[in-house]
Structure formats: C-alpha cells, structure tokens
Symmetry: C2
Subunit: 317 residues, 2 copies
C-alpha cells in the first residue's frame, strides 16, 4: 500500500451558475461548474489550486468558502461581466442532462493564466473545457507528475483533432459511456477503452451513471457498481465530484506516472480504491441540488458509506 | 461453505420458436422459450424436469438433445397445432426487446399437468407464464423446499392480483429493473426491492441488463456488474439462463428455504455466489443467437470466465 504523501492538484475548468430542473424539483441560479464540484470533492483529500473565470456577479462568500476548504483561489480571474450560466433539465432518466440554454458570458473568452505559484503542481486535472485551452494550460506547466482530464461530446464532435492532441498529454481520462463510444467509434466498453488508451491516457475510467463505472489500467479491468441511493435529487456534478475524489485520493497517496510503468499492479490497486472513493463521492453529490451536500460532507461520512458499499461488493469464489 | 447436494429442479414455462432481429443480424424460427434457456443453463449444475407444451412442428431432435443433457422431458406435452412463436427485435439498446408479433398457438391453452414423478421436486422454478398457471403448478406440488420465479410487465399490468397471489408462494424472485419499478411503484432499486420482499419473496434479484444485477436477501444487498462482452449478438434468453444458473447453483448446493431463516448469512453468501454464476451464464447466452452458445457451453468455460470476472470485481479497503 502506498504511503500518504499529499500532493497539490492544479485544476482548471468552469465556475458557473446552474438552473436545473429534475423530477425531484428545481434550483435557480445555484453554484455549479466543473472546477467547483471537482475542487470541493478533492479538497477532502488534499490541497487544490484552481484556475477559472467568474463575472462580477459571483458571490465573494463562495470564493471565501472555497479558500477555507484548503482550495487556493488566487488563480480565479474575476472579470467584468456575468458568470457562465447553464440551464438544464433531467427527465426520469437521471443519467443524461438535457441542456436548455447556455450563456457563456465571461467564460466565452476564458484564457487560463497560471500564476507562477501554480506551474509546478505535481498533479493536474483538466476539467471539461475547450481542448485548446487544456493544451494552453499544459504548455504553461513547468513540471508535472500526473495529468488527468475530463471531456464531453461537445468537444469530441466539435474539436476532435484538438481533443486528440490533448489526449496525448494525459495519463488518466474520466469520460462517460456514451462519450467513450463516440470518441472511440466502438460499441463495446472494452474495445472503446482499449482504443482510447492508444490515444494517450494509459488509464481510462468510463462512467456509467447510476450503474457505476469501469476502470481500465495497463494492468487490468475493474468494474465498480454505483452506490444505491434512495432518492436522486440532482445528478449535476456527479462526474466532476467523482473525478475530484479519484484524483484527490491519488494525490493523497503520492501517485505519479512513473508508477504506471514501474509498478502497474500497484497503480491498478490504487486506482481501484480511488474509483471506490469517486463512487461514494458521486453518491453524496446527487443527494442535493448544486454543491449543497458537498459543502457539509466530511471524510468520515465518505468512509462510512464506503464501508457499506464494500460489503455490497464482496463475494467468495 | 455448503456441501454439494444435488437437488432436482422442476421448471414450468414456455418452449418457443423465436424470430429475432438484432443489430448483429437475424435468426428465423430458432429455438427459444423460457424453459429452454432455463433448463439448458441449469442442467450444467443439476438434474431438471421440465413441463411445457409444444406443437407437432417442434423438432424431436431438440427434445432428444435436452434429454441427453440430464433434462427430464416426460412433462413436455406435444399437442396438435403449432408451437408458440415470438417475433421480436432489439435496437442498439440491447437491454430491451421489442415484441413485433406473438402467435401463442398451442401455448394459448397451456394447462401444465405435473406427472406424479414431478410433484416432489425439492426446487421449483416458475418461469414467466400466466400467474394463474404458476399457482396451478404450485397446487399440484406435494412438497417443495424452495420456489423461485420470474415474471414480466405483461402480467404485472395485466393480472396484478393473480401475480400477487403467486408471489406469496415464492422464496426467490428474478425480475428486471423496469419490471421491479412497475411492480413496486417505486423508483429506487432498494425501495423497490424492499417492497417486493414484503409481497412474498424474501430474496429478490433485480436484473439490470448489460449493467449487471442487484441481489436483496433478508441479510444484505449485493451488487454484481455484468461481464464485459466484446459483441452482443442476441440478448434473448439472457434473463432465463441467468435464472437457470442461479437456481441450478442453489440446487447443486442443497439450498432450501429453511436456510433463509436459520442461517441468513450463509444463504446470503450462497446467493452472492449464485448470482455470479448467473452473470457469467448470461454473458455466454448473448454471444450467439438462440441457444447456440448454451448448446456447447461447458462448466469449465463458466468457471474460467468466472475467475476472470472475479478479478474485475476485487478491491481492497
């Protein structure tokens, strides 16, 4: 088992206001954005530095709250204009969001600039943004030990060549099932993962919504069912907070890309445990609108639910 | 671990011709029916006696083949007329069959009569047929130690009261996710299972297609992801062969309903292992049309794939 050696994560992505309607209710102009969900989740494991852009309408108290949570907000640009606003809804199939409107606002001209204090973070998480910006971020990094990323159908179909360039820079990709099929042009999970692994990221986690996820490392495959949740309130942020816990757990355990080559079995074992942390984290996120549940969530609660989940996964030969 | 004590299973259900179209191709007038899939799967674990009805057009060679597989076919009624014919298709969502036509033929007047040699089989599997017929079967049984059953939306909406009467006679229900929600009028898996457990079957297995299954016993919950399959050819029979392996494995290990009360932890442990066998069996079934794969499948192949699956499920705390 790897010793705990906290490493700082740099995460670049979106801060947003979300207006969401789900079968359980609705929430207007609540806090959202990939970097918000990711960093709140990861901050339960390690230190994070975030880079994002918000408008003048973004609540200062929220930035202060992030700051209290060991999240370095000095890379958040506050610019003239309004914060990115996403309007979406989920029908009874809670696995897929339907975007009703997107007002990019200040996010439209987001040009991530890394403060000099950020360019040597050992772990980088490129949240779901334009792959060109993801590359810009990587160009600014002086050194790094592990790079993870997320993406989405919008970039897979809209900027496939740029996305493929970014993928070459990445060790770990988190992506949902439909997007994995779209990116790989395959229909089976295993074939899709193998094809994506050849594009760059040697480790791929394919998220399957309420059904869990599948992990593909150079060493093996791991299938993780999701936690059973009594009532899903709002699935928004499940994927980003999943990634936050996965990457946070890796950072906490001193993971780096050397390990992937030198000890693929240990990497695989660590990744399996990280996926379980991500699974549990996502199950909390969806139990409230926005970052409601993440704001109060403790590491003890995660560990408690993890124990319950582990009991649901064990089986003898 | 329970000692192996083979017990005979009685299974009552349908024998059919299927005409199926899937994204992988099509098959016309091929062998199908719940009891066919169930018994071929279960016969790899224990002896089976089947009760069904076929028309004069049903191939004698097939009955002979079943007979060679340790399946007692003396309860199969061959009557004047044509065998039940189901026409269906699957689109890219292989989890759900769309019925295009159903010619009940001789199945319309199916009146299951148990030969006197069948009325004391310790284990009963009521495949998906009219719940009134399922009750008739149980009335003919002199004694039994464990009863399992399957059902479908057609009976849940069409004969809900009769279905509820049948459920009271049952220890173990295998049902798919959508049907579980329909039957329980709940939307979460755990709530649905708990409600169904109160209807009679103290153990419920909810099948989730390509995503696996969830097992609810009086003792605990077990989540089992499905095997990854390179290409799904035809999902028909996946559920019935899953049940065949589950119930076959239970029969092989001397399971009975006394155990559920007296040692719920041992029952739970046995059921988890049974679900894994079912998971593996279903993954073979879908790799060919009709009973193509099941006809040649060996216990060794099942065990080999089970080992592979187990490696994909293991994770450390």
């Amino acid at each position: 088992m790897t010793q705990k050696q906290h490493r700082t994560i740099l995460s670049v992505g979106s801060m947003a206001f979300d207006s969401v309607r789900t079968p359980a209710g609705k929430a207007d102009q609540v806090l959202g954005g990939s970097v918000n969900y990711f960093s709140l989740a990861a901050s339960l494991f390690t230190q994070i530095k975030i880079v994002a852009v918000v408008g003048e309408d973004f609540p200062t108290e929220h930035l202060q709250f992030l700051s209290k949570r060991n999240i370095d907000i000095t890379g958040v640009q506050v610019v003239k204009g309004k914060t990115f606003h996403w309007v979406g809804e989920y029908d009874s199939n809670m696995n897929e969001a339907k975007t009703l409107a997107t007002a990019l606002n200040v996010f439209e001209h987001f040009d991530p600039k890394l403060p000099s204090t950020h360019v040597d973070c050992p772990i980088v998480f490129l949240a779901n943004i334009d792959p060109v910006l993801q590359q810009n971020v990587m160009e600014q990094m002086k050194t790094h030990e592990l790079v993870a990323m997320d993406s989405m159908n919008f970039w897979i179909t809209g900027k496939p060549e740029e996305l493929k360039k970014t993928l070459k820079l990445v060790d770990l990709l988190c992506i949902n099932e439909k997007e994995a099929f779209l990116l790989s042009d395959e229909k089976s999970l295993e074939k899709a993962a193998k094809k994506i692994q050849k594009m760059g990221p040697s480790t791929v986690i394919i998220k399957r919504g309420e059904y869990g996820s599948a992990l593909f490392t150079p060493h093996s495959v791991f299938l993780a069912p999701a936690c059973l949740v009594e009532e899903v309130i709002d699935p928004t942020g499940a994927g980003d907070s999943f990634a936050g816990a996965v990457v946070g757990f890796l950072a906490e355990h001193g993971a780096n890309r050397k390990m992937i080559k030198e000890d693929p079995a240990a990497w695989d074992e660590l990744l399996r445990r990280a996926v379980i942390q991500g699974t549990v984290m996502a199950s909390f996120t969806i139990q409230d609108f926005s970052i409601g549940r993440l704001k109060t969530l403790t590491r003890e609660e995660i560990t408690h639910r993890k124990h319950k989940l582990m009991k649901m996964l064990s089986v003898n030969e």
